[in-house]
Every structure is written in structure tokens, then in C-alpha cells.
Symmetry: C2
DNA sequence: CAAAAAATCTAAACATATTTAGAAAAACGT
DNA sequence: ACGTTTTTCTAAATATGTTTAGATTTTTTG
């Protein structure tokens, strides 16, 4: 005989009070509604005794608040995102919020469907998203414009928005700068296509600007595009071509961890010893793998924990502001750090 | 002027029908309720036109179903779990369900709080959980016993339950068997303490049984316990001691990827070349890292995708059965595979 | 064509809270 | 003791759907 769930009404009946009163007390508004201490005491203890827990749906339906935050990432199995997810979740749990994580599989349509479902439906109170979208058109929609959304990792340049990102430009600039100081003259950066997402364009810009600062010429050969759908194969081809060409290169700089991993795979497979050839290996994004592999990798590490915490807090702040009417855009850019493993 | 959300009533008013009818049609029950094709057509097209999307909370409140499944794991940033999460999510999305992922931080209290919140509150229709609990006492509670729960990775031996796990015993047995065939006589397994979770005890059992099969003596020295709270330091100490001792060991077998990673860190830090000393390195759990490091690692790989898919399907099946009254326990044990990188 | 049967549709109840507007009780002032 | 405040509490409305029981309308049948 599975005993039915305790309802507000059950408590009210037991105590011979109205459910209004019980609701007020349960929600900690007893004082402000002038419920006597004694009654509050009674209600609270009875509620505990009967193991009352409010029905979230009824509450959300009435209040329009679910205490749920959504997190949308391209791929939850990517350690970059799963780590951020962990920190976001921790930060939210402290404030009594729960997190709904969903992967979009780097698929714009799925992303839009999920945003629609979550945000327009008001299933969640706020959204944190590493968007796969590029145009911003979707997020301009009236109903979304008034919804608390925090972009992380990537933002959409053509719309005003709240975001928390690493300083991709500066990180890339510094990394390139470091390589140059180590004597590199012909650094080849591996980018991914399509590459309109902000983080990548910023990294490219940082790379180019650093070269420019030292008057090192940049030619199309310094930026290799890897097709997203065929990373492994494409990296292998481009890499082999590079190593065979007459113009000697002295550093490979992969613009994200996917490409880095693909390169390492190729080195492994072909037993290539980059180091012996006097080529540095550098990458944006630091993943734990880098601590174990050869060649040693110089990397730009993003402050995952900070990104997570800031994003969570910003989301909560926006939710608050929304209630209070005002709504300003906040842009958080966090510094990266170079992890320079003793190279060559 | 942010246009208000479209409600059922709005559509009903526009078309001069009852909202009952609209609801029926929207839910695809038009035929069974005998709503004429023409009317259904009208409703559907108007709903599309007005961009109607039902309010999930109102619906869930009334029906007691949210189309949400919960996934509770110890640590979403652990690639083992985040990969499973990805596959679970995909499988559920196909069936119109969404996934709420939460990390428990390997904290029993937090786990229980979340289960309470999600399951008892009926926020979710079903739960998939890699439990940190050990006793089963918590899950024996009346209200949870009638809730669709699928355990993954680990199950609780002292309660009847539904679970999807890898064949930890068999995988461990085969791995040990392989090592023995390679000539190992003194294999040392690194376990984690506390180690009452089923997956680990099964792995230990497989290890011992394989030794026994070949009449290889097992002594306490063959099983090193690493304390969970201090993995890195503890591994380092135990490892150094082992390598210095007189009795030569010929294989190290780490019982999960955490310990494996810790070992690799030590090898790295101290520039130890296990291989040169003629020691094999093996580990349960295969993570991508293993493809890149030295020494080459023989590992037991778990079928992550299958675990995810089976867990998702089982959860949905249970939800169905719950509605239909019957409720049987299903235990899915999936085969593992050995990844034998050419060692020594 | 009236009665019976079948096909369509609807009013009202319900799911479980929160909140508003106002009632009842207690305390106070003279 | 009676009107006024103040304190404490409650009935009813509300949030947005789903579902039951029954009402209308249409079609069929003798």
C-alpha cells in the first residue's frame, strides 16, 4: 500500500488551518504574513513529520519559476564542457538551483529545438549555452531576448548578449609570442572549418597579430584549415604534406583540443618524432592528456572553474534582474594562462 | 510588447471550439475521441500558426508525467560517465524524452538528496543512476521501490533492482588470464578503498579467480589498496615500495582509470620506465589517454554506447510497465573487450 | 418522421501549489 | 463596553493543461 504523497492540504487538515497558511509558512514567509511563531512552529514540525515536499510542477505552474537552469553544450563528452558543467552545477547547487545539461551534438537545429523547448516553455529559469549557432538571428527572437541567457565559450558577435568567455585573443597572442621568443619563424596554425565561431576567430586574430608584432610574414601557408567532418584524415594529409614541403616549419599550433588530439594520433601512428625535427607543438585548450604525451605541448589553459562559476552567477543575476525589470548586458572575459612544458 | 505565450484557450477561442477539443487534437487523440478530420486539421494548423507549445508544468501536474529522465553520476567530468551520458541522451531524445544530468561528487548524502528531489517529487519519470551508495537501505524505501530506477556501472547487491553493467568479473578475469599467458607470475592489482562498490569487488574476484585457475598463489601483496581521498600520493608511495622490494613483480593492474592515471603521473614524474624493467601495465576502463602514453597499456574496455542505450531503453520500458502495473527486475550484463596494445 | 444509434463536441472537475483580498480574533484606547 | 487597530488567519482565484461525464448534433432505421 504505497502511501500517497503528502499534500499541503493534508497538513492543513491535520492542523485545522488553511492551506494558505501552510504554504506561507513552508515558503518562509510566515513572518511577513504575520503568522504567529507558535503556528509556524506547528506547521513546520508537522510538515517534517509527514515528510512533506512541495510539488515542483504545481509550484512552477503558479509562480513561473522552476529553479532549474539549463546548460547546452555541443558535446558533454568533451572534457572541456564536462568540466565546466561540473563547476556550473556546484555553483548552482549552493543557491538551490538544479542544472539540466543537454548536448546538441554540434547541431544547430537540435540546439534551437532545445532552446525553444527549455526557454520559451519556461521549463528553465535561465540558460547557459555554448552555442553552435553563428548568426544570432535565432536568439534575436522577441521571446528569447527577454530570457536570461548566458553564452559561454563562444558568443555571437552580431547580437548584444551576456557572455563569459576566456580571452581567446590574448591567450593566442601570448602563445604565439612565446613561440616566437623561442625562435620560431614559421609557425603553422591548424584551424577547423567552418570556423565562424567567435573563439576560433579570436584565436586566429591573436595568432596573426603576434606574428605582425614581430614583423613575421603571414602567408596562407601559415593557416591550415581542417574540415570538421573529417578531422583525423584531414589532419594526417595536411600534416604529412607540411613535413615534406621544402619550406621548413618550426612550430605547429593547433587551435583546439580536437585538432591537437588528431595530430597526436598521427604522430603516434607514424611514429613521427616532431621534437627531433626541431618543431614545437602548441595548442589552445589544455587537456589532461597533454601531461602525458610526447612531444611536450605548450598550451593555453582556460580557467574552467572560473568560467563555470561566473556563468552560473551571471545567470542567477540575470534571473534576478528580470524579475526586477532592469536588464543589462554583461560581458565577462577571463584571462587564460600558458602552460609551458619544457620543450625541446 | 512581448506577445504573451499562446495558450490552449487562445486557440479554442479563435476557432470557437472548446479547449477540451483542442487539447485532444494536440495530443494526437483526436481520432480516438471522435473529432472530425476537418476539425483536427483546423486546430493543428491554427496551433502551428499561433506557435502553440504546451506548458510542460501544467501538463506534468495533471498527468503526473514529465517526459524527463534523470541521470545521476558521481562526476560528470569523468569521461567514463560523460560518454555514457551522451549516449543515454541520444537514445532518449529519439523517444521524445529529455535528460537531466546531475553529479553527486561521489557524495552519498548529495545523491540521496537528489534522488529524493527528483524521484519522490516525480520531477522525472525515471532515474538512471551510478550509485555511490553501498547499503541499498535508502533505495528500499517504499516510495522508491515503485519508481523506475536503472542502476548503471554499479549495483547494490543487497536489493533487487534493474541494472545495466559491464561484466566486470569476466573482463577482469580475461585480462588477468592474458597477463598470465604473457608469462606473468606476480601481478599486483591496485584497488581503491573503500571498495564496496560492486564493480570493484567483481573485478577483484575475477582477478583472484584467474590466478587460481593457473594455481598462481595469491597473497596480500598482490592487492594494494589505495585510499580514495589521497590517490596520487598513495599510489606514489605504494608504487615505489613495490619497485624496491625484493620480490620482483611482472605486472601492474589498476582496477580503474583514476588509479591508472595516478600511476602514469608517477611514471612521468620520476621518469620511470616500467617497460624496461619487464613489467606489464594493465588497467580496467579504457580511456583515450591510453592510446597516447607509454608504457603501452593493456586494458579492459567497457561498451559505453551500449550501456547508455540499454539503460535508456530499460528506463523507458520500466516507465511503461509502471503504468501497466507489472514490474519485473531486469539485469543486463554486457561483455567487455580487451584492448591489447602491443606490449613489451 | 420519430426513435435509436452513432458521431462530435463541451462544461466542469481536477492536478497542486501560490497569492490576493478580505474576514475573524485579539488587543488596545478611552 | 464599544469602536479601532493590529494581529492572525482563510476563502477563493489563479496558473495551464487533461480527463470524465454528459450534451448536442447528425445519421441511420423501421
Amino acid at each position: 500500500m504505497a502511501s500517497k504523497k503528502t499534500l499541503l492540504e493534508d497538513i492543513a487538515r491535520e492542523l485545522n488551518v488553511s492551506k494558505t497558511l501552510v504554504s506561507m509558512v513552508i515558503n518562509g514567509k510566515g513572518d511577513s504574513y504575520g503568522i504567529s511563531k507558535k503556528t509556524q512552529e506547528k506547521v513546520l514540525s508537522k510538515a517534517g513529520e509527514m515528510q512533506y515536499t512541495p510539488n515542483m510542477f504545481a509550484r512552477a505552474l503558479r509562480t513561473g519559476k522552476s529553479n532549474l537552469i539549463g546548460l547546452l553544450v555541443a558535446d558533454i563528452s568533451n572534457p572541456f564542457y564536462s568540466n565546466i558543467a561540473k563547476y556550473v552545477e556546484r555553483a548552482l547547487a549552493e543557491k538551490g538551483y538544479n542544472l539540466m545539461i543537454c548536448s546538441t551534438d554540434e547541431n544547430i537545429e537540435r540546439e534551437e529545438k532545445l532552446v525553444q523547448l527549455f526557454a520559451e516553455q519556461q521549463i528553465i529559469d535561465g540558460l547557459i549555452v555554448a552555442t553552435t549557432n553563428t548568426s544570432g538571428g535565432f536568439f534575436k527572437k522577441e521571446r528569447l531576448r527577454n530570457f536570461p541567457i548566458v553564452f559561454i565559450d563562444r558568443y555571437l558577435p552580431d547580437i548584444e548578449s551576456n557572455y563569459v568567455v576566456a580571452d581567446n585573443y590574448q591567450g593566442s597572442f601570448e602563445l604565439t609570442d612565446l613561440l616566437i621568443h623561442k625562435g620560431c619563424k614559421n609557425i603553422v596554425a591548424f584551424n577547423i572549418t567552418p570556423s565562424h565561431i567567435s573563439s576560433l576567430t579570436e584565436r586566429v586574430r591573436g595568432f596573426k597579430d603576434a606574428l605582425h608584432k614581430y614583423n613575421i610574414p603571414f602567408s596562407s601557408g601559415n593557416l591550415v584549415e581542417i574540415s570538421f567532418n573529417n578531422i583525423q584524415q584531414d589532419v594526417k594529409e595536411k600534416l604529412l604534406k607540411l613535413l615534406k614541403q621544402s619550406a621548413k616549419i618550426d612550430a605547429i599550433y593547433t587551435l583546439n583540443n580536437h585538432i591537437a588530439t588528431a595530430c597526436l594520433n598521427v604522430f603516434n601512428e607514424l611514429a613521427l618524432d616532431i621534437k627531433k625535427e626541431g618543431i614545437y607543438f602548441a595548442s589552445f585548450d589544455d587537456i589532461s592528456l597533454f601531461d602525458f604525451v610526447k612531444p611536450n605541448i605548450i598550451s593555453v589553459s582556460q580557467p574552467l572553474e572560473q568560467i563555470g562559476i561566473e556563468a552560473a552567477n551571471l545567470a542567477l543575476k540575470l534571473i534576478d534582474q528580470k524579475v526586477n525589470g532592469t536588464m543589462e548586458y554583461e560581458k565577462v572575459v577571463l584571462p587564460t594562462s600558458i602552460i609551458s612544458r619544457n620543450q625541446i
